[in-house]
Amino acid sequence: MKFFSGRRFILGSLALLCAANLTALPARAAHNTRQFIENFGNKLVAIVNSPIPLSEKKEQVLPLIQQNVDIDAIGRYCLGRYWKVATPEQQKEYIGLFHQVLVNAITDKLGDYRGVSFTIGNVTKSGDDESVDATLVRPQQPPATMQWIISNASGTDKVVDVVGEGASLRLTQRQDYSSYIARNGGNVGALINALKRQIAHHTPDAH
């Protein structure tokens, strides 16, 4: 009974408590991540499936994206090594443009789908972030599996990447941008101009 007496007991229980906490922590994190993506996904699908006109859908989706997707972080990632090269003004301008490009890319897709549903699979660790398996079911099309990468770096859970058929969207985008900049003499201004052109040529009713 000596074991239970005194400091040893306190230390022992403290250690046990810590250990229990440690094992519980990832499980809790995974649970939160799952809930986050479930929430976000349900809201998104509700808008996509609703019978309201496309322009209204776009309006409703905008705040949802800005709240749940870490566009700044994705933008920085996509600029890669040129983020350091860019001047603070260029960085600011680029992030502003990137917001618009990304939002355009997402809202363009809204009209394509109707009657979609999704299921959430495993939540696994992926470096510092968490990866959530999700399957998107569209009518008359084979189900699409993808992984959503969720980061907590900004303080709250936010989407930082989507991986479809093994290809990470942000990595592909980064290699697109860096190749473009490299072929334009390493000039970040060239990318900014190209993004401006892209936004100017964007026709919102193309879909």
């Binding site: 890669g80 093994g166 290809a167 592909t172 860096s178 473009y180 490299a182």
Partner: protein
């Protein structure tokens, strides 16, 4: 991204088959990969001065260079531009016409047939990769679809619990630990040294390249090859249009997506440790037990 015959490709591997159509004899058809290699090496020699990209000195740029794994970028870009020109003026319009003229269910059936007829090559590769469950699936798919599925037109195997999966010799070699080697853009689509060799092996593994003369089988084979190319392209009309429109450097985007995708495909095969018996067996057992 299905080329029709041998699984996933961002661009169909079509033009190789078209080249065969012009050459015509069955011998040249059988050894077309070798011929393609010859053409490639001639091309390589012709442009010797500018086929290799200079290695950058800046450490950050070097990092990008290594990640892209594209030593022969200048040559690849030339092939890419040529291929895209051919696509723009020939393949894409034909694929669009095909979508316009042929109703969806018929196209679907033709797609099933093309997938089924490639199943032997998938099977041999599954065996090569040492994945009995996958090999069994491919084998069952072939037997069921070629008989009950009327030559593959109906994907009965999928309904019976044997969904299609892709495999090719490039992935098999990846599982053996063969490195991909530098990236290559071939006339039939994005590739690498390993995957290019794999493409040749797949041609050898496909029984359709061994059909005897006569009985109209060779004409059928041509039709099948052309069909595969056009059908494969038709499945990616919107994807490729969007990519060409949205990417600032479509070449680099295709390269990146292809490399990531191949890596993920090889990983998926490596991590497939499913038992040999199909799913319904377990379900049945569970119900009984």
């Amino acid at each position: 991204m299905n080329s029709g015959r041998n699984g996933k490709r961002i661009r169909p591997r079509g033009q190789a088959h078209n080249a065969q159509a012009i050459q015509g004899t069955s011998a040249s058809r059988r050894f077309s990969p070798r011929r393609a290699g010859l053409v490639l090496s001639v091309l390589a020699l012709a442009g010797c001065s500018s086929i290799e990209a200079p290695v950058p000195k800046d450490p950050d740029a070097l990092e990008d260079y290594k990640q892209a794994n594209d030593r022969y970028e200048p040559l690849n870009r030339k092939v890419y531009n040529l291929t895209m020109k051919f696509d723009k003026w020939a393949l894409r319009p034909v694929a669009k016409a095909y979508v316009w003229a042929v109703p969806h269910p018929v196209r679907n059936s033709l797609g099933n047939m093309i997938t089924t007829m490639n199943e032997p090559s998938v099977f041999f590769n599954d065996v090569g990769a040492g994945r009995p469950r996958r090999a069994g699936d491919a084998f069952a798919r072939w037997c069921i679809n070629m008989s009950v599925g009327i030559g593959g037109l109906i994907d009965v195997a999928k309904m019976a619990g044997f969904p299609h999966h892709d495999n090719d010799a490039g992935l098999t070699m990846a599982n053996w630990g063969v490195p991909s080697g530098p990236y290559l853009f071939l006339p039939m689509g994005p590739s690498s040294f390993r995957d290019g060799i794999g493409y040749g092996i797949d041609q050898g593994l496909s029984p359709w390249n061994y059909v005897p003369r006569g009985y109209g089988l060779i004409s059928f084979n041509w039709a099948y090859n052309m069909m595969g190319v056009v059908h494969g392209r038709s499945e990616h009309l919107d994807d490729l249009d969007a990519l060409q429109r949205d990417a600032l450097d479509p070449y680099a985007t295709i390269r990146s997506a292809y490399q990531q995708q191949r890596k993920a495909q090889a990983e998926a095969i490596k991590n497939d440790h499913r038992a040999t018996v199909p799913l319904w067996y377990h379900v049945k057992n569970r119900q009984q037990g």
